[in-house]
Subunit: 361 residues, 2 copies
């Protein structure tokens, strides 16, 4: 598990949002800190979200709520909802993804108990919380909020294409699930550590849970994807960096449209390409070969320059999980030489001097 | 008005849909023929849809319904809803787009009268018919259907990227509103005239009204655009052509994501580039210069080959409206020579021998 390598990183600086008109478009800030609900699921792919939120937003994670001793242990205090509320928790975060994306029926009374204890609910499941009667009714009765971060019920304007003040970095990839979110988070941390004003802008469910705000960009009506991306990273101070979580891949047979709308609306000054050297084909799409990095870099730059003529790559982020250390280091060094760009594995070896290159832009 | 040049074309052959599982995904066929409602609006940009439907689906247009003698005359018999129903009409088509996309209040009682006469309602306005209480209540009471073709309430699967049998042509463009729909319609007609089995596949509201079916592709949730495009042009006989209406433009700052998702899901064997030589900038986006055709052709082909390695351009369709005839003919001839592709203005001079080139694929 790549995400599990992160426990030793510095505590995460909160990702604050400006409280202006634009934040209305991005939606309400999710009340934090969280009581992370893991149900009865042992450590597995299904508990990745909980681990990601714990690693990247530790200050937002007050306690865990396990229904069984066999459930994954996040290393947080075990609290029941009433005690968690008393200790300051404000939301129950469903940090797990059961197979099929459906909420098990036996969890419903527990989640109702969370609402009764004073906590809002946050979910990244396909099933909308509001579609589950006991949850919807309890929330309505008590005035609690339900956050379905996989869905988007807000409407956005069509993109204007107008340049906004402030600097923007977008992570892009050669495939889905290849490290775009964690590269963006690591870059945000590194920029802040270097004294640069920077915000992580979340575009997917786990990212939104970590940041407490964001837009599930793939859930937006297609016409408004670039407009939503413009709303996500509003005007900012000239030396401020928005570090935007990328989605999909430009050569992905199903999701490239999302990728391109996000690229255009983000108007990135800086791009970071995320890639996994061991991956030869698009995941779940056998026969769809991952293109050479040269071609991928060139295509992203051409398309990015539609809305920002100065868009350029500043680094390549490699996901070297599963490679022996020597091979991983050789791959980083080779890639760096071949493309003339700083190359790092942010989760394994840190991001090195790439931040200086970004700051020089 | 470019669309108005079409009155002399052959009657349109109906665009039949297969009645299989896939047509479920594409939605119900809209009941035809239409009683075209033009309200009290004189001939203007607002009545373009009515004129387009009349020109391209004459067999689907039984009569017109005008509230004032000053309203645009489509050259169809004037009928009130009851008489139109008796004569065989099955839907009232709102063939006009009042400023702002809102339905004028004074039209509502008339449309209710249409429902009471036995007719369904079809609208391309932003306002949903179902959101207007008297209309929604009357439709529910009488069991009539409301078709809001600008919206999409259906859910689609994620694209599979799998190759489907049959041939596909997609019209793509250097901008929006540049001739993609009419090029696709003209190509469908020409293929059928040459004895080729071909269907027009509509992706926008006017196209859907003409075809009586289709998917408003820009209204689909972003994640499912390519999947919707796959559903729109299902498996077909090996020598059958789907001629798919393109949307947006790959270098458009707001809509390129829609364009790319549609391109990937369509898996076109053949592409036709639609362009207006007199247009220098993306409409409504000052400063966004339309790129050279060489670059545009190359970008579309590169991206199309993600899902169809044999994708190629077969023609360029120029919208020469406003150019003197000699200049228009010279432009067509120059463009043809420069790019080595048949070049036509389908509405002004016909499409020439491009169909033969398509049939050779």
């Amino acid at each position: 598990m790549w995400a599990e390598l992160q426990v030793s990183l510095d505590p995460c600086i909160p990702f604050a949002l400006p409280s202006d008109e634009v934040s209305r478009l991005r939606g309400d800030m999710i009340p934090q800190p969280y009581l992370i609900f893991v149900g009865d699921l042992p450590r597995s792919n299904a508990t990745k979200t909980a681990l990601g939120v714990r690693d990247w937003a530790p200050e937002a994670c007050l306690a865990q709520w396990r229904l069984s001793p066999a459930a994954v242990d996040l290393g947080l205090p075990d609290l029941e909802p009433a005690a968690a509320f008393a200790a300051g928790a404000r939301s129950v975060l469903l940090g797990v993804a059961p197979i099929g994306g459906q909420l098990p029926n036996e969890w419903i009374p527990h989640l109702v108990r969370g609402l009764e204890a004073g906590l809002d609910l946050v979910s990244g499941l396909h099933t909308r919380l509001a579609s589950i009667s006991p949850i919807a009714e309890t929330a309505a009765r008590l005035g609690r909020s339900l956050y379905d971060v996989r869905h988007s019920d807000r409407s956005f304007p069509v993109a204007t294409g107008r340049k906004r003040t402030g600097k923007r970095l977008l992570t892009v990839g050669t495939d889905c699930s290849i490290g775009k979110k964690y590269a963006a988070l690591a870059l945000t941390r590194a920029l802040r550590s270097a004294g640069v004003a920077a915000d992580f802008r979340a575009t997917g469910q786990t990212g939104i849970m970590i940041a407490g705000a964001g837009i599930a960009i793939d859930a937006v009506i297609a016409d408004f994807v670039a407009g939503a991306a413009e709303a996500l990273s509003p005007e900012a101070a000239a030396d401020h960096w928005d570090v935007i979580e990328g989605q999909g891949a430009i050569f992905h047979p199903a999701y490239a449209g999302v990728t391109l709308g996000l690229l255009h609306g983000s108007q990135p000054d800086a791009l970071v390409l995320c890639h996994e050297p061991a991956r030869r084909e698009i995941a779940s799409y056998p026969g769809f070969v991952i293109r050479p990095l040269e071609e991928t870099l060139a295509s992203y730059v051409t398309l990015a320059r539609v809305t920002n003529s100065k868009a350029q790559f500043v680094a390549i982020s490699l996901n070297t999980q599963g490679m022996p250390e020597a091979a991983a280091r050789a791959e980083l060094s080779d890639t760096q030489k071949r493309h003339g760009l700083p190359c790092f594995d942010p989760l394994r070896f840190g991001i090195g001097d790439a931040v200086e290159r970004i700051m020089r832009l």
